[in-house]
């Protein structure tokens, strides 16, 4: 693992007899090649070669990742959130946005009766992936940093400003209840 050689797409890494190809590689005609630009990591014991990206990479959401999404639908016990990007790499969109489900029991450490008291369609939310299975992503907004990070007034679409645990419309003065993140409007 001491070799810090950087490979580029198409670069020959070894024969399939020498190594199995891991992430960032592909095999063709008995050889292993790099598919991305990155550090060549050789595990001699496992006889495996990988390329660890040095460029930015297309984001793939995984369990434990914090993501940013838009509330698409609010039902009795579930909010559906259209996941747009990873929180750590906001600039880069997901290849295909995925729908995550936030159950009312995962909104907050405190008891929440109805999810519509805490989220509204159109809210921008930061949430954590609890379960990531094909076609089913479960989200959680437990934790002070998680929850709504940007929202507009349900009456006049004015900008909502954080006031304590509530949000107040800067336009009409309407006060709305949300699961507000500690980073509300801070990083947008």
């Amino acid at each position: 693992m001491n070799d810090e050689k950087i490979a580029t797409p198409g670069e020959f890494l070894g024969t399939s007899e020498e190594y199995g190809g891991g992430n960032g590689t592909f095999e063709r005609n008995g050889n292993v090649y790099a598919s991305i630009t990155g550090k060549v990591k050789i595990d001699s014991e496992e006889r495996k070669v990988e390329v660890e990206p040095v460029t930015s990479s297309p984001p793939i959401p995984e369990t434990g990742d914090e993501v940013i999404g838009v509330v698409e639908n609010v039902k009795d016990s579930i909010a559906l959130i259209d996941i747009k990007s990873l929180a750590k790499e906001k600039e880069r969109e997901l290849a295909v946005s995925e729908m995550g489900a936030l159950h009312v029991s995962e909104v907050s450490e405190d008891y929440v009766e109805k999810i519509k008291d805490k989220f509204n369609v159109g809210d921008i939310v930061q949430a954590k992936i609890k379960v990531d299975e094909p076609n089913s992503i479960d989200l959680s907004t437990k934790g002070s940093q998680l929850g709504v990070i940007s929202a507009s007034c349900s009456k006049c679409l004015g900008k909502l400003k954080k006031e304590g645990n509530k949000l107040k419309c800067t336009n009409c003065g309407n006060v709305e209840s949300r699961k507000v993140s500690s980073i509300y409007e801070k990083e947008l």
Partner: protein, 241 residues
Amino acid sequence: MVKVEKPDEFIDEEGKRVDGRDLNELRPVKIEANVLNRADGSCYIELGDNKIYAAVYGPREVHPRHLQEPDRAIVRYKYSMAPFSVSDRKRPGPGRRSKEISKVSEEALESAIFLEKYPKSVIDVFVEIVESAAGTRTTSLTAASVACADAGIPMRDLIASCASGKIDEEIVLDLNEPEDNHGDADVPVAMMPRTEDITLLQMDGDLTAEEIDEAIDLAKEGCKQLYEEQKNALKSKYGGK
């Protein structure tokens, strides 16, 4: 900008071309990866007097949705010339020429990218010609492929692209502007250098079958040289050897 009058002769007694190059010599080339902050991947290239930026976004969601392919990503290639980049006589505008260039460039890139990894998505490639001096379509493609790699998009290989052509009965590499305007033929080629698979091949002008073979072979040599510069651009940007 290079003067575009037709010279009396394209090749002098010593076998040098109007800009002093040998017949099989590329114009000076400079490639830099990751030059634009906002893009997911980017590249700047100079080849002779060509100055071109390529920016890549994605893979990302396709709009409008009916363009989605259920089992793979698509590539959208937008080729545009800055208004001051070409003489009026040659300005292509958003017309047929740039559409045709976009289509063949999309196909070339699609053959190199592992599209099946990103179903239903699009990889958007924007190419901006800041200065144009013959060979923009091939030079743009060379830059676009580096920009895709810079975006971390998995690929079988980079795509290197350049043209050969015919002037004064000789097959030469990488036509400059007077050669392009007044020469006898132009053969743009793109390939994946590892396998030498050709992903773009066009022909403009009169060539015999033998000359075509010679022109393709010469362009492939040019692509291999550009490939070295492409790899260097990526490796030097990210601190490798």
